[in-house]
Amino acid sequence: MIAVKATLVRDLTLLLRRRGEVLNPLVFFALVITLFPIAISPDPELLAVIAPGLLWVAALLAALLSLDSLFRSDYDDGSLEQLLLAPQPLAALSLAKVAVHWLLTGLPLALMAPVLGIMLALPAGSYAILALSLALGTASLSLIGAIGAALTVGLARGGVLLSLLVLPLYIPVLIFGAGAVQAAILGDGVAAHLAILGALLAASLMLAPWAIAASLRISING
C-alpha cells in the first residue's frame, strides 16, 4: 500500500511540478474545438446539432494524446524496470499511475467542457450531463488507454500506434457518452446512458489493471 501511495505522490509531484503541462490537454481540447467551426462553418444552428459529438470526440482525443507519456518516461530512464522488480503487485502500482492520469486530465476536461459547449452553441440544459458523462467516460478511457500505452511503451514511434490500438476500444464509451448528451438535449431520459457508462467503468476497473501489468511485462521483455 505504501508503494502505491508513493507512486501516486511521485506521479502527482512530477506532473504538478510542471504546472503548464497539466494544462496542455485542456488547451488541446479547446484548440481542437476551435478548429471545427473554422473548418466547418460558424453557423450556430449547424454547430448546435453537431456539438455533443464534436465535444466528445475532442475530449477523447485530448485524453488519448496525453496517454502516450503515461509510462514512456519511466521506460526511458529505467524506472519501469525497477517498478517491475518491486515486490508489490504491479497491477496496483499501475492503477495508481492511471488514477493520477485521470485526476489531471479527465476530470479537468469534464469541468471545462461546458465552457466550450457555450462556444459551440450547445443547447441549454445539457451542460451538467455533458460534464458528468465526460467525468465517468474519461475514467474508462484512461484505464483502457493505459493498456495500449503499456503495450506501446517500448516502441519508438508509439504515439500513433497507440491511437490505432486504443481508438477501437473507445467506441462504446463514445457512443454512450455522446448519446447521453444528445438525450439530454432532446429531453429523453439520460439515466440509461449514464448507467451503461458506469458499468463500463466498473468493468474496466476490474480488468484493466491486470491487462496493464501484463502489457508492461511484455514491453520490458522485448
Binding site: R18, E21, V27, L31, T34, P37, I38, P42, P44, A121
Partner: protein, 250 residues
C-alpha cells in the same frame, strides 16, 4: 553606437533609469484610468441603440488594443534579445507575456458579456472574436514553452523564436479569418459598421486607451526590475545595492 546600445541593455543601467521613470507612468496610469472610468461610466451619454451596455466599450477596446500591442512588443523584445544578446529585452518579454494573456482574456470576457445584451449570445464565430481567441492560444503557447525548459537561457531563446514566428503569423491569421468570415456569414452584426461616435463618447475612450498603455508600461518596468534582481542576484552591483539598503534600515 554599440557601446550605447549595450549600455542601454545593461541591467544595472536599466535598473537605475527605470526607477526614475516608473513613478511617472504609474501616476499617468492612475490619473487616466480614474478620469476615464468616471467619465465613461457616469458622464458619457448612453448609446441610442445599446443603452448603457455600451459602456463596456471603455474596457473592451483598450484591452483589445493592448492585447495585440503586447504581443508585438514581446516579439520585438525577442528579436532584440536574439540579435544583440541584450538580456533586459528578454526579461521584459518574459514579464509581458502574462499581462498580454490577461488583457486578451479581458477583451474576450468583456466582449462575450457585451454580446448577451447586443447579440443575444455569449459567443459567435465572428472574425475578430476568432482571431482574438487564437491570440490567446499564442500567448499560452509562449508562456508554456518558456516554463517547459529547465535552462533559463534556452527558455528565453525558445520563447523569442516562438514570439517572432507568432508575430509573423498574426497578420496572416487575421487576414485569413476575415476572409473566411466574409465567405461564410451574412454580416448580420459587425463591430465596425456602427455610426461614428460623438465626441463625448469617444474622448473617454481615448483616455482609457492611453491609461491602459501607461499601466502596461509602468507594470512592465516594475516587473522587469524584479526580474533583474532575480536573475542578477549574484552580481556584484545587486549585492552592493542590497547591502546599502540593509545598512540604511539599521
Amino acid at each position: 553606437m554599440w557601446a550605447f546600445i549595450h549600455k542601454l541593455g545593461s541591467p544595472k543601467w536599466f535598473y537605475t533609469i527605470s526607477a526614475k521613470l516608473q513613478p511617472w507612468f504609474w501616476a499617468a496610469a492612475v490619473l487616466l484610468l480614474v478620469v476615464g472610468s468616471l467619465w465613461g461610466l457616469a458622464f458619457a451619454p448612453a448609446d441610442y441603440q445599446q443603452g448603457n451596455s455600451f459602456r463596456i466599450i471603455y474596457v473592451h477596446v483598450p484591452a483589445a488594443f493592448l492585447a495585440q500591442s503586447i504581443f508585438i512588443s514581446m516579439a520585438v523584445s525577442g528579436l532584440v534579445f536574439m540579435v544583440w544578446k541584450i538580456k533586459v529585452a528578454d526579461m521584459a518579454a518574459a514579464v509581458m507575456a502574462p499581462l498580454g494573456a490577461a488583457m486578451t482574456f479581458v477583451a474576450l470576457f468583456s466582449g462575450a458579456v457585451w454580446g448577451v445584451p447586443t447579440w443575444g449570445t455569449w459567443w459567435m464565430w465572428d472574425a475578430r472574436l476568432t482571431s482574438m481567441l487564437i491570440l490567446l492560444f499564442l500567448y499560452l503557447g509562449v508562456i508554456a514553452l518558456r516554463g517547459a525548459f529547465t535552462s533559463r537561457d534556452s527558455a528565453s531563446r525558445a520563447a523569442s523564436v516562438l514570439a517572432m514566428v507568432g508575430v509573423i503569423n498574426i497578420p496572416i491569421i487575421k487576414y485569413s479569418v476575415d476572409w473566411w468570415y466574409t465567405l461564410h456569414q451574412p454580416a448580420s452584426f459587425t463591430l465596425t459598421s456602427r455610426p461614428a461616435m460623438p465626441t463625448e463618447m469617444w474622448l473617454p475612450l481615448v483616455i482609457m486607451v492611453l491609461g491602459f498603455y501607461s499601466f502596461f508600461i509602468a507594470l512592465t518596468l516594475m516587473r522587469t526590475r524584479s526580474e533583474i534582481l532575480r536573475r542578477e542576484a549574484n552580481k556584484r552591483w545587486v549585492q552592493d545595492l542590497v547591502k546599502g539598503q540593509v545598512e540604511e534600515t539599521r
